[in-house]
Symmetry: C2
Subunit: 450 residues, 2 copies
């Protein structure tokens, strides 16, 4: 939908043309309707929500942002709320309840029947970001003694409430997960074929436990191209599934978390524009302070070389450039390694291969940089040839060391079960800065103070 | 599959126990078989590939890495090659052919029949990373005058060769895309219902053109929770689909590209361990050189203040810490803005909201940092109180400026159609460094040289 389409709808709303609006909304995609509702004034929200076709209102609700959802729940009647919750998938209800104040949660739970309430409560108890907290219970469960025809008949009868019918789960009498079946296989085989003959059996089942991290779910779905991942409890009983649309959201969430960690930000669940100033400051300040205090080290390295600096002022002017280049080289390496580790392309055991490769790459880059830097200094001027040589030699050494540190720290972090994403540019620069200055002054002292 | 399972299979291979191996492979997932084949010695590769069950060998092949694929194609007979290509989905064949030398492409094309060859050739002509280059032609196409029962019958007959049957595409006599239909709706409705009654009609169709960028495909699938995205030509004729498993791969690919651009690396298609040293050096060196040369500016700012620095040596020792903090604050902001832009959460028109928010956040962070820095200097020592005040005031100003630059550059990049991801930590640090030093010396001069 374009901006101008939304504006036309807004006009209808402000002129009270609800019957036209109703006709337009009926033809729209639920995602676009939710976008529209999120953008309109609160005073129109409930009235517009009420004119939505009954069969899409629950879906639209689950795509809306938390503020609008909360406003609607606070404004509709108990019986409307009851129908809404019944029509929503469990995972969407739980998603919503996790983000609203306790009194809204209480009201929603009161408006639902006992069985749904019990399920919701159980889900709310799973730790955040675990498979249990994001799964849904609306899946197709088939007994293995059915044949294909009977199975399809059962899907026809019960499928309308299921979040997906395309992957079916075979269970035994005690609800243990014993097989997985694509609807495609079910539809294409002979009608009398027993499910046990065509299902993927236990050895081939790919599943997760309720307590598994959501990242593990996403990794499995990506690797094995699954449309949904089954979730089992400790006794291997099927308790839920996670569908690919939620998995795509998890993948983006985990990537965002990596981006944020790499910039040493505390990860935030909200979007940028929705996060408050104080909360945002808190997410940033801790690491800024830690790194600032760590930079005491570079200050002291410089202080100790006062004599050298007083005599050769040119050396000072080259410091930022050297530290900058070291930091940039380190960022490049660590980004590649962090990403490789996240996607499973690099494993801890590859460390020596990685170091060996980085040494060779560093040698190429360092040589080019040192030579170009020497030429640059010749042109810009400000010192003499020995000083230019010192700066270029320091640059060579800095790039080599930055590359080694840049590939070692993320792998080391993985080894001690820290998140490798923390070992990115900012943290690395602070460490590489200190190394750079030490080398620089050592070379300068060796050459100039003989 | 665990490491040790692969080792057990390797043992079977080395002891020529092919019949046992065959039995084990038959029970394994295609992805795991491909992983196993990628890891074994080339001399065993073709023999092992040949004992795979016929119904999975094409799928296994499409999950293997390019080196192994090429080795197999070079070693099997023409008739084996013919069968392999017939069994593979078009998009997987095209993926493979895009990565191998021309003589392998020629051999594969020779081994296929005229119709497949023509399709492959057409696909190879689409520009890289467009919808056309990643789509497949194996989709379910239904005429709108069918009823549900007839449609299901057609799917049963032709579905085995389709990459997905879960989303069906309705076409008219000229192959124009006129409707989209979930298999779920088809299966759950009355058998005699006409497709035209239950399909999403033209106004609701979400589709892409062959020339659209793959990122746009991923954005649509993520936003609208689609299992596949239809691809049409300029005349709105249906020419292919892109399925969710490929879209998940695109999402990870686009994220990797953003991570790489943010570290100012030229994006690379290969995994870390597969990219050669020379190629890798080339991907990194350009930006390292550009940034190094830009740092000439910081050198010159320092040179001009020689007198100041000679008299107040303490000021020099605080330089790295100040530049580091400015760079870190800028990285944090730009990461959030880049990510927000990529996910569509921040738009260009939000610029003033963003700046206003950043000013407030910067004020909070800068105050905390300036105060803590003053205390730190009191403890560490090395200068006097006026000098500590100068450093803390400069720190305050630096953080404010870093935040403004950090949110402005990515949005500015988007405005002029550059990739915002380039405006991340490394590039930003170089700019912020120069600003920091200028402010620092201005404050120092004002206080000390009165």
């Amino acid at each position: 939908m374009e901006e101008k389409d939304f504006e036309a709808l807004q006009d209808l709303l402000e002129n009270n043309r609800f019957n036209v609006l109703h006709a337009v909304l009926k033809e729209m995609n639920s995602v676009d309707i939710a976008d529209f509702l999120d953008g309109i004034d609160d005073k129109f929200l409930v009235a517009t929500f009420r004119i939505l076709p009954k069969d899409v209102s629950a879906e639209v609700f689950s795509y809306m942002d938390t503020d609008s959802q909360e406003h609607i729940v606070r404004s509709i009647t108990d019986s409307e709320l009851h129908r809404l919750v019944e029509d929503m998938y469990i995972d969407d209800t739980v998603d919503f309840l996790e983000d609203v104040p306790a009194n809204v949660v209480t009201r929603v739970l009161k408006a639902t029947d006992a069985k749904t309430r019990e399920t919701i409560n159980r889900f709310l108890n799973y730790a955040e970001d675990t498979a249990g907290s994001i799964m849904t219970t609306e899946m197709v469960q088939l007994h293995t003694y059915l044949n294909a025809e009977q199975a399809i008949e059962q899907i026809r009868k019960t499928g309308v409430d299921k979040e997906t019918i395309y992957t079916c789960y075979c269970i035994d009498d005690k609800r243990h997960l014993v097989g997985i079946l694509d609807l495609k296989d079910l539809l294409l085989c002979e009608p009398k074929t027993l499910l046990s003959e065509i299902m993927d059996d236990e050895k081939q089942i790919i599943s997760v436990k309720t307590s598994d991290d959501q990242e593990a779910v996403a990794d499995l779905a990506r690797k094995y191209d699954l449309l949904s991942v089954p979730v089992t409890d400790k006794e291997n009983r099927l308790v839920g599934i996670i569908t690919i649309d939620d998995i795509v959201d998890i993948i983006e969430e985990e990537n965002t978390e990596d981006f944020e960690k790499m910039a040493l930000l505390n990860p935030s669940d909200d979007t940028y524009l929705k996060t408050g100033v104080f909360r945002m400051s808190k997410n940033r300040i801790i690491w800024l302070v830690i790194l600032m205090v760590s930079a005491t080290l570079t200050g002291q390295i410089i202080s100790r070389k006062q004599a050298l600096l007083a005599d050769f002022a040119f050396l000072i002017s080259a410091m930022p450039m050297l530290m900058g280049t070291g930091g940039n080289a380190g960022s490049q390496v660590s980004t590649l390694i962090i990403r490789g580790l996240a996607l499973g392309e690099i494993k801890i055991r590859d460390y020596f291969r990685v170091v060996f490769k980085e040494l060779r790459v560093a040698f190429c880059c360092a040589t080019v940089l040192a030579v170009l830097n020497f030429l640059r200094l010749l042109i810009v001027g400000g010192g003499d040839i020995p000083q230019y040589l010192i700066v270029s030699a320091a640059m060579f050494a800095t790039v080599i060391i930055a590359n080694i540190i840049g590939c070692t720290l993320p792998i080391l972090a993985r080894l001690v079960k820290l998140d490798p994403a923390l070992m990115a540019g900012p943290l690395l620069s602070t460490i590489v800065d200190a190394a750079t200055l030490s080398i620089y002054f050592a070379i300068a002292q060796f050459v100039l103070m003989r």
